[in-house]
Amino acid sequence: MSTPILVPSVNSSSQPLKVSLWLTHAGEEVASGDRVVELLIPGVTFDVEAPCAGRIVSCECQAGAEVTTGMVLGWIEPLNSETDLDWNPED
C-alpha cells in the first residue's frame, strides 16, 4: 500500500507555502529521510523528507502549487526489504 508524502506542519501562522521543486521523480527509489520535495515561503526553502524507503509512484503537486499542512504532495510505494533498494535489473 502506498504511503503519502504529506506537507509537514512547518508554520505557526497561516502563511501559504509553495512547492518549489521536486528533487526526485516518479519511478525513482528513495531511502527513508531522503529529500524528495522542496517547499518555499518568501526567502526560505524547506526540504521535505521521504517518510519511508520505497519508490516514488506519483508527484501530485507540481512546482508553483500552493499547499497547506497535511496536503498530499505525492506517494511512495514502500519496498518490502532493505535488499530491494539494492536490486538491479541488469544483475
Binding site: 512547518v10 508554520n11 521543486l21 522542496e38 518568501p42 526567502g43 526553502t45 526540504d47 523528507e49
Partner: protein, 227 residues
C-alpha cells in the same frame, strides 16, 4: 567572522556544521559571517530575467553564476556585502519556518534601527527596504529542520557590480547601507549589530567567536565589468 571567503568553501563548511548540529542533542547553533569574492547566485525565486548579461558574458568577465537551493532571487555577492549564515536547530528550538523567517527580518530591522536607518518589510515578502531602496535580502534554506544559508546585507559594495543583476522584485532600487546613510557604513558596526540581534532574537545566552577556520582560505578575486 571570517573575512572574505570563497563561496564553495563556506558552503562545504555549512554542510559540515549542519551534520554536526544534526548529530548533537543540544540547541547549540553556528553562525558564519563573511564576505564573498564576486559571484552571482540565483535562489529558487530567481530567474534568468534577473541577469543583465548572458551566462557566457558573465563567464568572460570571470563572474560565475550559480543556481543554488536557497530562497530568494538572484544576488551578486562581492566584498562590501555581508553574508550571514545562521545554522539553527529549528525543531529543537520549537521554531517553524515562518518563525525563522520573521526572526531574520526582525533582527535586520533592529540592526537598521541601531544604525539610524528607517527600514520596512515589504508586505507579504521578506524584503527589507529603506528610503533609497532595498539593501538586505533573505536567502535561506532548511534541511532536516536545520537552517543554513541566511541573509545578505549590502553594506558598501561596488554598486556598479550590483547593477549586473536585477535583484529587486518589487520595483525598489537596489542600494546599500552607505548610500542610505549618505556616509560610509562601518562593516564592523553592521557585523557586530546583526550578530548581537540574531543572538538575542533566537534566545541565545552564550557565544564564542572565532575569526578563522582551517578549512577556509581568505581570497581575493578580480572581475572585469564593462562600464
Amino acid at each position: 567572522m571570517l573575512g572574505c571567503v570563497d563561496f564553495d568553501s563556506i558552503l562545504t563548511l555549512q554542510e559540515r556544521a549542519l551534520q554536526e548540529i544534526r548529530q548533537q542533542e543540544t540547541d547549540q547553533a553556528t553562525l558564519f559571517v563573511c564576505e564573498h569574492p564576486p559571484i552571482i547566485t540565483v535562489g529558487r525565486e530567481g530567474s534568468h530575467a534577473q541577469l543583465a548579461e548572458s551566462s557566457q558574458e558573465f563567464k568572460a568577465s570571470q563572474l560565475d553564476v550559480r543556481w543554488v537551493n536557497r530562497g530568494g532571487g538572484a544576488l551578486l555577492h562581492a566584498p562590501g556585502q555581508l553574508a550571514v549564515y545562521p545554522l539553527l536547530p529549528l525543531k529543537r528550538m520549537g521554531l517553524g519556518m515562518d518563525d525563522f523567517q520573521n526572526g531574520l527580518v526582525q533582527s535586520l530591522l533592529r540592526m537598521c534601527a541601531e544604525l539610524g536607518i528607517e527600514a520596512e518589510r515589504f508586505p507579504d515578502s521578506a524584503d527589507i527596504f529603506g528610503r533609497c531602496g532595498q539593501f538586505a535580502f533573505l536567502g535561506a534554506a532548511i534541511k532536516s529542520w536545520i537552517s543554513y544559508y541566511g541573509l545578505y546585507i549590502n553594506v558598501s559594495p561596488d554598486m556598479k557590480l550590483q547593477r549586473l543583476i536585477d535583484a529587486n522584485q518589487h520595483d525598489h532600487r537596489l542600494t546599500s547601507l552607505s548610500a542610505t546613510l549618505t556616509r560610509e557604513a562601518s562593516m564592523s558596526s553592521v557585523r557586530e549589530s546583526i550578530v548581537r540581534n540574531l543572538v538575542q532574537q533566537f534566545g541565545y545566552q552564550q557565544t564564542h567567536i572565532f575569526t578563522r577556520h582551517p578549512l577556509l582560505h581568505r581570497v581575493k578575486k578580480k572581475v572585469y565589468v564593462h562600464p
